[in-house]
Amino acid sequence: METEIRNKPSFANIRIKLGPGDRVIAEADAMASMSSTIDIKTMWSGGFLRAVLKRVFGSESLFVNEFSTESEGELILTQPFPGDIECLELKGNTLYLQPGAFLACEPTVRLGVGWAGLRMLIAREGLFRLKVSGTGRVWFGAYGGIFQREISDEYVVDSGHLVAYEPSINVRIGMAGGIFSSFFSGEGLVTKVTGPGRIYMQSRSFGGLAAWTNSHLW
């Protein structure tokens, strides 16, 4: 199965060439176009219960589509918002994805929901996080460009900028500065991540876009 991410970083999309026996699982609305030789099977995202949990708490879709073919064909997958897409090859390791980041994976990748903790609700990052594990490729997207940091001890990420992180990363919510500074700095609550491990961030946030738009509407 040959894959390629094109039109980075603004309008990134995944082009997948499927051969006989190849299968790809993708978010319900991710398919933009495909060859007519490709079959789609819609299924509950990780089982019924998990799908409902993810839908209600993780703002992921209820269903995922499985694409396969008996001959060969091409498939284009996209994401709802402008931005970058990253591909990661799992080799038995695990990755946590923030709600909305998951796009597609190979069927050997296990999709699960993990409890992120009540504190994440306070930070409006979502109560649940998506847990991807196993072996195979997984694709996730972001609004903005994706950049990563290898964290050895601690790092501060503004809320809304965290996209994905390894399970060795401990995430907690903190204030950007003192009480006055946190309130007036416009940063408010931030995510404090403790390593060692790798985190993926997006260079724009929905909150930032909304604030920019609203500041010009009066």
Binding site: S10, D84, G144, G145, S181, S185, S205, G208, L217
Partner: protein, 313 residues
């Protein structure tokens, strides 16, 4: 495209035709040279910026120092360098520019609220009214926040990344005792040594509506500003006209005057009214640089607005 090598260090360059005859600085050895004239008849470069207007040349780059020479893919390159104060990198260009600043212990950076995307814990964030009451109100008149965030690397060296809210590019400018005017909302961050105040536009500001509200940055230091869309740097040598909504920043060596677009002048206010409030332009004269953004906030909003949910009472 013009292909040539630096006369002193033999570094290979490919630059756009517009740069022919210009003096540029080598990225590698720092030596200055003149870009040669194109040898072959100019071929069309898909990334090149469209034709330059009379008496002004446009180049698709943002930083005045690092990007005097544009690479083959134009604006998509990562801009990085050392400002003398700190190392910086502008990545994810031009769509979602991210400014990374690497600070030494004890260094300070001053930024627009909510511009921070991430930072090391060795950096402390403090919000405050900087520069006294007059400056604070000046900034508010300039359309920026009353508050300026101070990032201090007080617990060892650290890095801070900054991102704007709007999709677009960012650029770096080094102030050397001169003054730079920055359009409302375009200011991102500045280093120590830069003085940021609001500039009361008087009648100029009044007539241009929300189109031209400026911040004045002066002193010696670094300033970063962002745009909605890509940033074009224009070297004005005589006269140049920019729609007020597209101005990002300009040097104060330029005189400027806000007027109605020359073509609309005959019909006066009426024509301008039917034009939907558009048609206000800034007329620059003299010598200096203007940075122009390739998208307009208000055009975006009027495109988006009909789709926004509205509560009907």
């Amino acid at each position: 495209m013009i292909e040539f090598t630096c006369p002193s260090c033999q570094k290979h360059y490919r630059v756009n035709d517009e740069l022919a005859g210009k003096t540029a600085k080598c990225k590698q050895c720092g030596g200055t040279f003149q870009v040669p004239m194109p040898v072959v008849p100019a071929e069309v470069d898909e990334y090149a910026v469209s034709s330059a207007p009379v008496a002004a040349s446009v180049q698709a780059s943002a930083a005045p120092i690092a990007a005097a020479v544009v690479d083959g893919r134009g604006t998509s390159a990562i801009l990085s360098g050392n400002t003398g104060n700190f190392e910086y990198e502008i990545s994810q260009r031009p769509d979602f520019a991210l400014v990374t600043v690497k600070m030494q212990q004890g260094q300070k950076v001053f930024a627009e609220p909510s511009a921070m995307a991430s930072m090391t814990p060795s950096v402390t964030l403090k919000a405050g009214f900087k520069g006294g009451l007059g400056r604070t109100i000046g900034r508010a008149l300039g359309g920026e926040s009353l508050i300026i965030n101070t990032f201090t690397a007080d617990q060892g060296p650290g890095e801070v990344t900054f991102a704007a809210g709007a999709p677009g590019d960012a650029a770096y400018y080094r102030l050397q005792g001169n003054t730079l005017y920055v359009q409302r909302g375009a200011f991102m961050l500045h280093s120590e040594g830069v003085d940021l105040t609001g500039k009361w536009q008087g009648a100029k500001g009044f007539f241009s509506g929300e189109g031209l509200v400026l911040l004045k940055a002066s002193g010696t230091g670094d300033i970063f500003f962002n745009s909605y869309g890509a940033i074009l740097q224009v070297d004005v040598t005589d006269q140049y006209i920019v729609d007020t909504g597209y101005i990002v920043a300009f040097e104060d060596t330029l005189q400027y005057r806000v007027t109605i677009l020359p073509g609309l002048r005959a019909g006066g206010k009426l024509k301008s009214f039917f034009f939907g409030g558009e048609g206000l332009v800034c007329q620059f004269s003299g010598q200096g640089k203007v940075w122009v953004q390739t998208r307009h906030v208000h055009s975006f909003l009027s495109w988006v607005h009909p789709f926004r949910p509205a509560s009907k009472n």
